[in-house]
């Protein structure tokens, strides 16, 4: 089957219309429906254990919530009575939602409309939860010391008033067996089972709850099928009526039964994906190895002539657009640094099969194309590189990077597969990992909770110089570990840093274990658990440690910032002794006011990212110290805490709340992002920054390491430049990197650099045979480059 160009264009136009309808033309609005139904359910099932209560709550929501099917939609399933309308889960977060209620509509980033009437309804409803929602319970559990460390911006602790995602269900199993198959599995476990102990009773309760949830989801699909059939009858557009009839047919089949076509498989995954959000609204429910679990259905339909490539492109693109229909309600502080409604939906492409073979296929390429056609910020793609990667697919990945969407990010199997072996997986399982954003998990059997907490590296160093006292406030924040002038050598200072950092990691562990336990007791997810190995087998929800692999992850924030700060102190106070310890502390206390010469000396000290061992090896040392400390701690659900060098956007928050640092950074300025160099500090080009980055041992950071690399479009426009970008990626992977993503420089970025040159001194622009730092060019030349980049963006 072939399609004409006109047909193809009409399909692409349809995608554009869907995107416009979804994003541009739709304001977001907070609606109370889910909160109200959940509240009623909790009242009605008050006496039940949490896992049954949650199953009954899900059942009630799915059978009562308002359904709708949008114009032109090919797949159905929404979380809310209208698209881009966040839901409220009062059982998880009530206090903070109440606190923020009057700010949602007016906050500068990610404003969410809410009518006065709905505000009143929600306030009434949430008021009932003030003492019993998860955030209230956690508040009663955390120690004063942990709360103080959070208030001092030394740490954050995740999951206090929300469900936690970063998890991929077993999509392959869902598609192969359907929910009916899962129910059969549960029935088989329950048949003849007689509990002999409390553990047995718990198992039985979970199985019942899981079965109620799965049945409820099947009924939910049938409700949508009825609606589609009804709309088909009343539609006066014959073509649309046919589509709706087909939608109704599909929903009577999936997700209950195994999928028999590509379209059924997509609908099955989408409806279940929607329900996972309705159940508890976590961020980052991952779409997993999409080009693997979907491939058999795609391949068969293509081979049998039931699907054209263009049709498949439309189907995948429309799923992409639907991803943006889900919005998670976030508090106003978080949205300042996470603007743009990110949900961290990620999909994985490429990688290895169970025997280490390359598994890139036609669907891999089609998904890359769909991302460019759909042009939506999510889902973000993680592409798994390995030594046997198909060169054509790698080339297409590079071409997609050039589009400037910020993805695909490259994940390096050579570094990551061994991490999963270290985390306890078998070789086959390790090769079946999928990506979060930087983190990776064995698909469908891991609950790794990366956001258990974040630790502020640079501030730990400030405390290490000053006997645990924050120089900016004079307040005792950490343990007493001596003052700068007490240390005979830099190594003694480093040892004090280790004590401070370990202290705060310890506080995260203590606090998160309490949060983790609260989730197990108050907020189990029977439905999601039923789709995770080995929850049914073990008779435990994922919150109780039912998944095969369980970890808690901690983010180390500001690695390059702390290495730069250490390098400056080492150089000025220990090596050259040109600055007295007291002078340094005074300058930090005064935010360098009146100490300009010292500030310049600090700024001129070696900076991470330039292939300078003086500072790069400090970054390696801190990273090793951090990873070793995190890995020492067992986690509540089984295995242990795992370290990550990544900050999402907490480096902005920690920077805002931390005083001046010895790298010359004034108070309030953001720290370095992920494990990347401080913005503007790496000035020796992209090969030097790679060498600095790979001096850090990516292997021991079991949860991940983020590297953000900037490229100008002209660096991607030379002949063969896409192939060379592929070679650059290969080299990065040869050197042991975990993850790399590319930020293709836009004219907006150049204009920003023109206004604010100091923050963009690393920005290199290239022309034929000549390259220069953008900040050092005169204004006219800068304008010429902006004009040229604009041209390249259009090309």
């Amino acid at each position: 089957m072939t399609t004409t160009l006109t047909e193809r264009k009409s399909k692409i136009d349809r995608i554009a219309r869907m995107r416009d309808r979804m994003i541009s033309n739709r304001p977001t609005e907070l609606l109370p429906e889910r909160a109200l139904i959940a509240t009623e359910a909790y009242e009605r099932f008050a006496g039940e254990p949490a896992v049954l209560k949650r199953a009954h709550t899900l059942e009630k929501i799915l059978s009562e919530m308002t359904l709708f099917i949008d114009d032109e939609e090919l797949f159905v399933g929404h979380c809310s009575p209208q698209p881009r309308s966040p839901i409220v889960c009062p059982e998880l977060g009530a206090r903070w939602v109440l606190d923020d209620m009057d700010r949602f509509a007016t906050r500068p980033a990610d404003a969410i409309g809410v009518t006065e009437e709905n505000k009143r309804i929600l306030k009434d409803c949430l008021g009932k939860w003030q003492e019993t929602s998860l955030d209230a319970i956690v508040d009663g559990l955390l120690s004063d010391e942990a709360k103080q460390a959070i208030a001092d911006a030394m740490i954050t602790v995740g999951g206090q008033g929300t469900a936690q995602g970063n998890i991929a269900i077993n999509y392959k199993k869902l598609l192969e067996r359907g929910l009916r198959g899962i129910i059969d599995e549960i029935d088989a476990k329950m048949e003849g089972f007689v509990p002999r102990d409390i553990e047995g009773t718990n198992k039985l309760t979970f199985w019942k709850a899981a079965k109620i949830s799965c049945e409820a989801v099947i009924q939910f699909a049938h409700r949508y099928a009825d609606l589609a059939a009804h709309l088909a009858e009343t539609s006066d557009d014959a073509e649309r009526a046919e589509e709706l009839t087909e939608i109704a047919r599909i929903l009577r089949r999936v997700p209950e039964h195994p999928a028999t076509s590509f379209r059924e498989a997509l609908q099955s995954v989408w409806l279940v994906y929607t329900v996972l959000h309705i159940e508890s609204d976590p961020h980052a429910i991952l779409l997993g190895r999409f080009d693997q679990y979907m491939y058999p259905y795609f391949k068969r339909d293509m081979e049998e002539g039931n699907l054209t490539r263009d049709e498949a492109l439309t189907l995948v693109s429309s799923i992409w657009i639907k991803c943006t229909s889900i919005i998670k309600l976030m508090d106003s502080v978080t949205t300042r640094t996470f603007a743009g409604f990110p949900l961290f939906q990620n999909i994985t492409l490429g990688g290895q099969g169970p025997r280490g073979e390359d598994v890139c296929n036609e669907l891999t390429n089609l998904v890359l194309e769909a991302a460019v056609v759909a042009r939506v910020p999510q889902p973000s793609i993680g592409f798994r590189y390995h030594n046997k990667i198909d060169p054509d697919t790698l080339y297409k990945v590079c071409a997609t990077i050039k589009e400037g969407l910020g993805y695909p990010a490259i994940m390096n199997d050579n570094c990551i597969v061994p991490k999963h072996l270290m985390r306890g997986a078998t070789l086959e399982e390790a090769r079946n990992y999928c990506t979060n954003c930087v983190e990776t998990d064995v698909e469908g059997m891991t609950d790794s909770r990366p956001h258990s907490g974040y630790v502020n590296f640079p501030k730990c160093f400030l405390l290490a110089m000053n006997d645990g006292v924050d120089p900016a406030t004079g307040k005792q924040v950490g343990p007493k570990t001596g003052r700068l002038e007490d240390f005979a050598s830099f190594d003694e200072l480093l040892a004090a840093y280790e004590k401070q950092m370990s202290h705060f990691i310890g506080l995260i562990v203590e606090a998160y274990d309490l949060v983790d336990g609260a989730h197990a007791i108050y907020a189990p997810e029977p439905f999601m658990s039923s789709l995770l190995d080995d929850c049914i087998e073990r008779g435990l929800t994922r919150q109780q440690g039912g998944t095969r692999y369980n970890f808690s992850g901690i983010f180390g924030v500001g690695l390059a910032s702390v290495a730069d700060a250490m390098a400056a102190v080492r150089k000025l106070c220990f090596d050259t002794k040109s600055v007295k310890p007291q002078e340094m502390l005074n300058a930090l206390e005064k935010n360098f006011e009146g100490c300009e010469d010292l500030k310049i000396a600090c700024e001129k000290a070696p900076k991470f990212g330039n292939d300078d061992d003086y500072v790069d090896l400090l970054a390696r040392e801190v990273s090793h110290m951090y990873c070793t400390e995190v890995l020492r701690h067992p986690c509540l659900r089984g295995a242990f805490y795992i370290p990550e060098l990544h900050s999402v956007s907490t480096h902005v928050y920690f920077g805002e709340t931390t005083g001046a640092t010895p790298d010359g950074r004034p108070a309030g300025v953001a720290f370095s992002d992920g494990a990347s160099p401080v913005g503007g500090a790496d000035r020796n080009g992209p090969t030097a920054s790679v060498r600095s980055m790979t001096k850090i041992d990516h292997q021991e950071a079991l949860q991940g390491v983020l590297f953000n690399q900037k490229f100008s479009p002209s660096a991607l426009n030379a002949p063969a430049s896409l192939a060379l970008l592929g070679d650059y990626i290969r080299t990065w992977c040869d050197l042991g990197g975990h993850h790399i993503q590319f930020n293709v420089i836009s004219t907006d970025m150049l204009r920003e650099a023109q206004q604010n040159p100091d923050a963009h001194r690393d920005l290199i622009v290239r022309v034929a045979g000549y390259s220069a730092y953008f900040a050092e060019l005169n204004e006219n030349t800068q304008n010429e480059i902006i004009a040229r980049t604009e041209y390249e963006e259009m090309a």
């Binding site: 060498r691 650059y728 040159p757 045979g769 000549y770 050092e776 010429e784």
Partner: protein, 301 residues
Amino acid sequence: MSRKGAIFKISSYSLHDGPGIRTTVFMKGCPARCLWCCSPESQSFEREIAVNTSTCVACGRCAAVCPKGALSCAFGGTAVDRSKCDLCGNCVVACPKDAIEIVGTELTPQELFDLVRKDEPFWRRSGGGVTLSGGEVLAQPDFAIAFLDLCRSRGIHTAIETCLFADTRTTAEVAKRADFVQFDIKAISPELHRRLTSLDNARILDNAIQLLQSDLELLVRYPLVPGCNDDEAELDALGGFCSHNRRDVSVELLPYHSMGAGRYAALGRTYALPDTKPPTAAEMERAADILRRHPLNVIYR
């Protein structure tokens, strides 16, 4: 082996100076004075001080630490008395904006090799290597030969970029150590060439003939500078010259750009072509069409 070379810049991840991901070494010192030269700091063989006028904030810190009194800050900029400056570098350390630079460093072939070789993983993956550019590589032939020999002894791909202003023996000795040779022709007419570059082009053309008639892998480059060397007769003569000596040779037209204009001010010099604009797409195509009258592989970006 220990003879030092004068170098003004090393640029990694170069994609334009030969195959693959390359590391380009810019030699310091050039016999030519092309009006449009985009890197005036490459011209002198001596180290020199440069003050970037767009980043200098005239704070006076450099003047305060200068032991020779060579620097003075006024009217929003910093002035250098080059006759007093002894390149001690105190000002570079003091400058809060990194606006001052002592341009030029001297390295032995081995030192340079050790420095650039850190990029070897990228060369190996991409089929890239090292490019010696300038300045003028043929102006420091002993250094270039020793360095290129070192690279070749380790199986590293080598390239040179040259204006060919050297005697034929030197040219041949250096060129045969390069896996890829790129050379510039700026004009065929001797008089025009002298006016644009200050050099006579007789030996340049002799060397070009020698290379075009060899079996070396070559790319001829022609900087297209509007109002200077873009008239039909010049371009037609270039096409005839190249195709006569090697049929179907690749000739790349490099569009003039003014990216280096700011560097003249940094060195206390004046840019000769302040009003020249880069050629338009139509002008590039017109020039390419003139060259295409001859059997050549004409390329431009």
